[in-house]
């Protein structure tokens, strides 16, 4: 009877496990495998030629890769840091019993539910040369001409980051809120009696107790910021001059525009490696989540 139950357990797990193996695990291994080959779709007749680490040697000396790499890192660091700070403020506010609490929580779902492509389209119009911001500024007497927000490298980068912060802070704040809601109010009452101020309470009670949720949330945001694609495709399509092209965008064009599967795979594996290294810093937080 027990034995039968165990077999049944595996059978029930099988569909999910099979789907994950066939569609995620095997493709990942295949990509790692392909990264050691010279393989181009336009020259399919030549087949795959094993070239060892040559693709990686090329990656390391590819200055455009490093541009996309550092931009991806900067984008991730800045957006996640700001999303965390704003998200925490917002989450703290959402725990308060204030009028319109339901409305606040509902409004926060707007950017969350919006497809990144649509968010990118809207923000690109807001920052466009003849767009909303320039048309507002032009009304001011001292503004002489329109500023090309998306046509200048640094302002395009800032614009893209603003759009991402708009899109993803709500998610951050809701997950932080879920952590905050589990904190027992009595801690704060006791701390108040002991004369601890708000600031002190935040650092000594809130932060330590919300830390497990916070770490997992940060990890997930970091990983999804590192693979950013849709939003930037819709806003700048990687421009101007490739300055907002992320590693994901570079890999996709290497695969599908240039048909260079080997090199595209090596680029993907680089991003995978960085994700793995970052995840390792969060292993303890992840473990606590499994328990």
């Amino acid at each position: 009877m027990k034995r039968r139950k165990e077999v049944r357990g595996y059978l029930l797990l099988a569909p999910a496990a099979l789907l994950i193996c066939v569609l995620i695990l095997i493709p990942t291994i295949e990509t790692i495998y392909c990264s050691f080959f010279n393989y181009r779709t336009q020259m399919a007749a030549l087949g795959m030629k094993f070239i060892g680490l040559e693709n990686y040697v090329k990656v390391f000396s590819d200055s455009f890769f490093w541009d996309t790499f550092w931009w991806t890192i900067v984008f991730t660091a800045v957006t996640v840091a700001l999303e965390l700070v704003i998200g925490m403020l917002l989450a703290l506010l959402m725990t308060k019993k204030i009028p319109g609490q339901g409305l606040i929580r509902a409004v926060v779902l707007v950017p969350w539910a919006m497809p990144a492509i649509v968010a990118g389209i809207i923000w690109s119009q807001i920052f466009a040369y003849n767009g909303f911001i320039n048309n507002l500024l032009s009304a001011l007497p001292f503004v002489q001409e329109n500023y090309p927000w998306l046509g200048n490298e640094s302002s395009a980068k800032v614009a893209v980051m603003i759009a991402d912060i708009w899109k993803n802070t709500p998610y951050m704040s809701l997950l932080l809120l879920s952590g905050l809601l589990t904190i027992n109010k009595e801690y704060y009452e006791a701390a108040t009696i002991d004369g601890a101020g708000r600031w002190r309470q935040f650092w000594s009670i809130t932060v330590p107790l919300v830390r497990p949720t916070m770490m997992v949330t940060i990890l997930f945001r970091i990983i999804s910021a590192m693979r950013v694609y849709d939003l930037i495709v819709a806003m700048t399509n990687g421009g101007p001059g490739g300055s907002t092209t992320t590693v994901s965008m570079y890999a996709i064009s290497t695969y599908f525009t240039y048909g260079n599967i080997g090199y595209g795979s090596a680029l993907s594996v680089m991003l995978l490696l960085v994700s793995v290294v970052i995840s390792l810093f969060f292993v303890d937080s992840l473990k606590s989540r499994v328990r």
Binding site: R8, P15, I20, T28, L89, A113, Q125, F220, S248
Partner: protein, 277 residues
């Protein structure tokens, strides 16, 4: 009992109001732009309210691209994806919570790990696999991979839900001679239908919004989803923003109807610790 408004509180409230305005502004601007004329859009100072309601933008949006087909494709793909995700997710979660199989923790960690994978590490092999299996440009193909990518958060969420059901419920049903399928359908599903529905909605929105996979796997019109179809308006240089806005509004209407109707479920789902990328 009126509380005193301290400076700190005032700053908090100001922050909140500003933030909420910032949250809704892009949506309001989008909807408003979809009714504007080209002149309205480039007016100085910038306009927020259209001078007249240009329904024509929508007529153009509907005629330039087969957007009705795209929306239909998105619906079918997302529904199939939710269906696959919930079936596989419920079975796996039941197994992880209520049977004595080995390696549960390992499996959960594994599931968590795969949700951290960048999409670009799987997309090319998936493309080739689909090409061999004739699954490119099909709604079912896209929905399967979409479901698998949402499976980790679904399993995480549902294992927590299954844990909340007392084991005694199942045991008493078992004593009465109920089989596994009866137990799942008659005991768990009725008790967990709220949770299952919540995660289903979140999966739906996630599937609807998937762009990269849809762009790569379904490039042809017949199975193209609306988030990809939307970008085709922009590709034609002459298409102005008001038309793109109208198409965008058409794209997001189903999402926002869902958000309006089911915001409690969505919030419940997210606040119960559902991990969504």
């Amino acid at each position: 009992m009126k509380e005193k408004i301290t400076p700190v509180k005032a700053i908090f409230i100001a922050f909140l109001v500003l933030y909420l305005l910032a949250m809704v502004f892009p949506l309001v601007y989008l909807v408003s732009a979809s009714f504007m004329t080209e002149a309205d859009l480039s007016a100085i100072p910038a306009k927020l309210i259209p001078s007249s309601l240009q329904i024509r933008n929508y007529v153009t949006a509907f005629t330039r691209q087969p957007i009705v087909l795209y929306v239909l494709n998105s619906f079918i793909t997302s529904f199939l994806s939710v269906f696959i995700c919930l079936i596989a997710g419920c079975l796996a979660s039941y197994s992880l919570v209520r049977t004595r199989i080995k390696g549960k923790t390992l499996f959960l960690l594994f599931v968590l790990a795969i949700s951290l994978l960048p999409t670009i590490t799987i997309i090319n092999p998936i493309y080739r696999m689909y090409s061999d299996a004739k699954l490119l440009n099909t709604r079912i193909g896209l929905s399967i991979i979409s479901a698998v990518l949402d499976l980790p958060m679904t399993i995480w969420f549902l294992t927590a839900a299954f844990k909340s059901v007392p084991v005694s419920f199942e045991e008493s049903a078992e004593i009465e001679g109920a089989g596994l399928s009866t137990i799942l359908v008659k005991v768990y599903v009725p008790l967990l239908k709220g949770s299952i529905f919540s995660i289903g909605i979140i999966d739906f929105i996630s599937a609807w919004n998937k762009y990269l996979l849809s762009q790569v796997l379904n490039p042809l019109e017949k199975a193209r989803t609306v988030v990809v179809g939307l970008t085709l308006y922009q590709l034609e240089i002459s298409i102005p923003f008001e038309i793109v806005s109208a198409a965008s509004v058409i794209t997001i209407i189903p999402l926002f109807v869902i958000v309006l109707l089911f915001q409690k479920n969505i919030l419940g789902g997210l606040l119960d610790g559902g991990i969504k990328e």
